[in-house]
Amino acid sequence: MHNKMRLWENISGYLFILPALVIMSVFVFWPVGYSFYLSFFNWDYAHLKNPSFIGLQNYIQLFELNTPPPYSFLKALVYDGFYISISILTLFAIYLLVDIVISKRVKILDAIYIFGITIFSLIFFNATLSAMNILPYLTFIFIAAAVGLVIFKKREFISRMTGHFFTLFLISGAIYLVLRFAFPSNYGIYQWLNAVKESSDFIKSIWNTAYYVILYVPADIILALLVALFLNRLKLFKAFLRTSYFMPFVTSIVAISLVWQWLYNDQYGLINYFLSFIGISPVAWLKSDVWTIPTIAIMSVWKTIGYNAIIFLAGLQSIDKSYYEAADIDGATNSQKLTYITWPLLSPMTFFVLIVSVIGAFKVFTEVYVLYQAVPGPYNNSGLTIVYYIFQTFYTNQQMGLASAAAYILFAIILVFTLIQFRAGQKRVEYL
């Protein structure tokens, strides 16, 4: 009897999920695997009836360069590795300094080690770069760093750093940029990609998409946060403001792109008209390849700012009022409340929104397609994004295998960010 009930319970459970399961299997589970499978096949217009297995050839073809790069990728990697390791060391040095200042104690050994290496590297930076072979220096640095980490794992200043990966990332990124500008060099990953992107459509698409993400995401997040703060604070006309910020989100991207296409018109567009009020001469938004990605980014920010603002608003409103009340009792100013209560308590949500935005931004396609009327940018593939590349390869050129390979690369990129979010999400649970 009991078993029969259990059986029936199981069966009914399966029955309930059956339609969803069937459709998911056919249109999600199966394609995921099949796409992976396809990416190893040469299946295009010429081979419609008999696709042939070609292994990693598709992937190699994606990254194949039409013209040889100015120098090898390895060299770029090595040079950039140099910059990166120096910035990490500088990061350590900064934290050590902070630790010394705060704890008012100096651990001689640590100090000598970190400061010595850092100063040595910075002074001899130029010499190192111009040397024909930086590999010995690099090796030295890597070994030193590794040794240092092992020895100093338990030290205090290291512990100050753990758990704040995002902040560390930002600071070392800033140091990296400073180093790059202070000690410029023609070699590096960025320079290599910049030179190489013209030789391979896929690399160009990755470049364009990355550029778009870098433009769109910070702007969107920061502006959405500001809007959320406004909406949270202002009492009057809340409904009207909320509606007007959110409305662009529900409208069709096609219709919006058409309207923006008209706004961006270089002779009669409203944007150039408003710019003329502040003395800026008309910009050929849609006809210049420099502006391709920025135009899409601006439009996307406009479209999704409301959506993100609402999420932030929900987050703001979920912060316990008692924190603010306690702060008020302690006599905190508005900016103090913002810095010490709002921002820290909101940062998990900010991070979540950040990752979701990045993932969404990588999939940009329709905006380009409609804004530029079925062409990836005015010329030179300036608007070719990864999904556009996939679309072109698959729908126009009918190269199914190649398109699947490109789709999987996209998947891999997005997966990285998803996993970052996942881990951060788990950490967030630890916080609260």
């Binding site: 202002l234 009207f240 008209y273 406009w302």
Partner: protein
């Protein structure tokens, strides 16, 4: 402190509202653009208002002069010239054509005033003797070589003074290269003056040395005086300075509005000034009474080589004066109130009028009946097409009735139509007597194409070899297609149907004329008595005013003032004109249908399947529950683009391309919806399910009668998000549909935009009605949207 806080708040409000304005600006601009007239769209700086909203619209109008302007008279033979003047039916002499600039109004009442609102004058007959004098005067003048032919050709119109003046005005003012064009006239005049001065520079010293100027003892004192005068005349350099100042004076008039005609008095004055001083012949005659014969050669040389080029241009202006004076002085009759008010007939009125016109026409009775039947059936909007269809059907049934089978009949019909097409071309180049000859031939010899071919070749082959050559001869259409009929048993009967087809063609032409005349004739509310009828062609903005036995030449020089007046509902229709045009330009009704259907079904399936799965994942216990749930959640991490290629292949395999299945089924389940609903279901206490089980309710019933109503807000949110997502979906629809009949709104809109190019008012209108339903839905269901979105943030 409070003030600082309030000021801060106010600043925040200002910023927030500025931001809201930026967010809404594109929408507002979209709507504003969609309401504009086409010519108001692409202007800089852009405007926020539109003329469409006005009840009175000023229309930029002018008299149309193009009737003669495209003809270069000097290139025509006389015969051709006469043909041009008289052979054109659409430019009959009593028709005055007015052109509207910009978009012509499609409705409303039009107020057209000739002239400035003051009474205007015209004439119905002119004094013929005065005409002869005028033409003689004009002809007697000296003109520059490049204009001489044009003006002398005009003499051939002397029998018809109205046409003469019309042609004169066109040559001088209104044509494509008018004589009085500022740039051309001044340029040519400068050339003439320069060549005259060059000649003068070269020859005046030589003339000075001419023997004729030598004073001999026999000369009378008057002669001596003459010669001295001429000598001092020729030796002064005033000629050159004066001619320079004259030229620069005339060149001042190079810039200005319109043609030189408005500045003729001043230009004439400048020239007159010069001529008075340097026209040697006239000066000598006025000073000395006559020119001494010994000086004749010299003076003639001077006149012809140096003076005449300049005099030619002076004469041009003078002859223009003459004709215009005559023109103005001939106008004896007055129109007190030269304002016309007219409007469109209503469709009902049009039907009645069309019926009347058909009944009163010269159509043979069979055709009249066909036409009347079409009108009775109420299909006047595609009247001509229906008429053509009916007459074609006549021929087709005849073909079948004489014993051909369907495919033979189709074949024969195509052949006969092809012959008719080429006969039309021949018909078009014949004159009216030849045309009736051709008609007779066709009706008499239609049964035997070989004979018909011979007759046509004999009658017209020599005059019009090209047009007849296609039809006649061994390789002509009649022979070629006729031979194709030789296998049919009733070849003669088949061929005879040519005459039916031909009379169909004549009837169609007749009916089209009647239709156009009826359809485009306007209802006159008020007009001067000289106006007999008015036709208006909104497609090209032309108004044809038919005058009662008055030649249109009398009104050619008038300005025209036009206003269109609209009542309230007409203004409304004007504003939304772009919407109507955009809607009709692409199958938007179909797109709407598709989009609504797909969105509704997808949402419905999503909710049903989602609710079922969410229930199972939250309340039921079965083996592998967590595994499957994780699996479903994991799918949220997979970007849809990865699934694009395989899903497309799957769709192709199922044969679902261009069907609703492809648009709905892959999206019938959404992990996000399942997740969302499950969250909500989890918060429903398990005890409820237990209680229901005790009461004997099945799980299914429990789900739909208890769980779902409890979770209504979340389900509504899920449904809304799904609906909007489906409505706005693009990439997938783009890939799985390529037939217009299966497209949804986004893809249809994008397709329309690539066809419409830069017709922005229509594009914006299409965008507006694409997003309108969703916006309305959003405005009413805001709460659900925003709460749902907020919920996604708080996991």
């Amino acid at each position: 402190m409070k003030i600082k806080g309030t000021v801060f708040e106010i600043i925040l409000y200002i910023i927030a509202f500025a931001g809201a304005a930026i967010m809404l600006m594109p929408f507002i601009w979209m709507i504003v653009t969609s309401l504009k007239l086409p010519e108001e769209v692409q202007i800089f700086p852009p405007t926020w208002g539109t003329v469409n909203a006005l009840s009175i619209r000023d229309i930029n109008a002018s008299i149309d002069h193009s009737t003669y302007s495209s003809v270069n008279y000097s290139a025509l033979s006389l015969q051709q010239f006469l043909n041009v003047g008289q052979g054109r039916t659409s430019s009959a002499s009593n028709v005055l054509t007015v052109n509207f600039a910009g978009t012509p109004p499609l409705r409303g009442t039009i107020y057209l005033t000739l002239g400035n609102g003051n009474p205007i004058k015209y004439a119905t007959e002119v004094n013929m003797s005065k005409v002869e004098d005028l033409i003689t005067n004009v002809d007697s003048m000296i003109y520059p070589a490049n204009y001489q032919n044009q003006i002398s050709e005009l003499k051939s119109l002397s029998a018809n003074p109205d046409e003469y003046m019309k042609a004169f005005l066109n040559i001088f003012r209104y044509g494509s290269n008018p004589i009085l064009s500022r740039i051309d006239f001044t340029k040519n005049f400068a050339q003439a003056v320069n060549s005259a001065t060059e000649t003068a520079k070269m020859f005046m010293p030589a003339l000075l040395r001419n023997q004729a100027l030598n004073v001999s003892d026999e000369d009378a004192s008057s002669v001596v005086a003459q010669k001295d005068f001429v000598k001092s005349f020729l030796s002064s350099n005033d000629f050159f300075t004066e001619s320079d100042s004259m030229l620069s004076g005339v060149l001042n008039y190079k810039k200005g509005m319109g043609t030189l005609s408005s500045d003729i008095p001043s230009v004439e004055g400048i020239m007159q000034n010069f001529l008075n001083k340097f026209d040697l012949k006239t000066i000598l005659i006025s000073k000395f009474g006559r020119i001494d014969p010994s000086l004749n050669v010299l003076v003639n040389f001077y006149e012809q080589r140096i003076m005449n080029p300049i005099i030619g241009y002076y004469d041009l202006l003078k002859s223009y004066d003459l004709v215009v004076d005559f023109y103005n002085n001939s106008k004896q009759l007055t129109v007190e109130n030269p304002q016309m008010i007219f409007t469109f007939f209503t469709p009902a009125e049009q039907t009645v009028r069309l019926e009347g016109a058909i009944k009163n026409s010269t159509l043979p009775s069979t055709y009249m009946n066909i036409a009347l039947n079409i009108i009775k059936a109420g299909h006047t909007s595609h009247f001509i097409d229906d008429f053509i269809n009916e007459t074609d059907t006549m021929v087709k049934t005849d073909l079948l009735s004489i014993g051909l089978n369907q495919s033979e009949a189709d074949n024969a019909f195509r052949g006969i139509s092809s012959v008719v097409t080429n006969m039309k071309i021949l018909y078009g180049v014949l004159n009216s007597s030849e045309q009736s000859e051709l008609n007779r031939m066709i009706s008499e010899y239609a049964g035997n194409w070989n004979e018909l071919s011979q007759k046509i070749a004999d009658a017209f082959g020599s005059d019009h070899p090209n047009s007849t050559g296609v039809l006649t001869g061994n390789s002509g259409q009649l022979a070629y297609i006729g031979s194709g009929f030789s296998s049919y048993k009733n070849q003669m009967e088949v061929e005879r149907l040519l005459s039916v087809s031909w009379s169909n063609y004549l009837a169609v032409t007749n009916v089209t004329d009647i239709y156009n005349n009826t359809y485009y004739t306007m209802k006159i509310i008020k007009a001067p008595s000289i106006v007999s009828s008015i036709q208006y062609f909104p497609s090209n903005g032309n108004v044809k005013i038919f005058l009662n036995a008055v030649n249109s030449v009398w009104f050619l020089t008038l300005p025209v003032k036009v206003e269109a007046h609209f009542n309230f509902s007409q203004i409304f229709a004007n504003l939304f004109e772009s919407y109507v045009q955009a809607w009709n330009a692409a199958p938007f009704a179909r797109y709407y249908l598709n989009t609504v259907f797909v969105a509704v079904v997808t949402t419905f399936l999503n909710i049903v399947f989602g609710v079922m799965a969410a229930f199972a994942f939250s309340k039921l216990h079965f083996a592998g529950r967590n595994f499957f749930f994780m699996l479903f959640i994991a799918t949220m991490m997979i970007p849809g683009e990865v699934l694009l290629v395989p899903n497309f292949i799957t769709i192709v395999h199922f044969g679902w391309l261009n069907t609703y299945y492809a648009l709905i089924i892959p999206w019938a389940v959404s992990a996000f919806t399942i997740f969302l609903i499950r969250q909500n279901f989890m918060s429903v206490p398990d005890e409820l399910l237990d209680a229901a089980k005790i009461d004997g309710a099945s799980r299914w019933r429990f789900l739909w009668t208890i769980m779902v109503p409890l979770s209504r807000p979340v389900i509504i949110t899920g449904a809304l998000l799904n609906f909007v997502g489906s409505w706005n979906a693009f990439l997938w629809v783009l890939i799985v549909t390529n037939e217009p009949s299966m497209r949804t709104l986004p893809v249809g809109l994008q397709n329309f935009s690539s066809n419409a190019g830069t017709i922005y008012n229509q594009l914006m209108a299409a965008s507006t009605f694409t997003m309108l339903p969703i916006v309305i839905l959003f405005l009413f269901a805001q709460r659900y949207f925003i709460e749902g979105i907020a919920r996604t943030g708080i996991k």
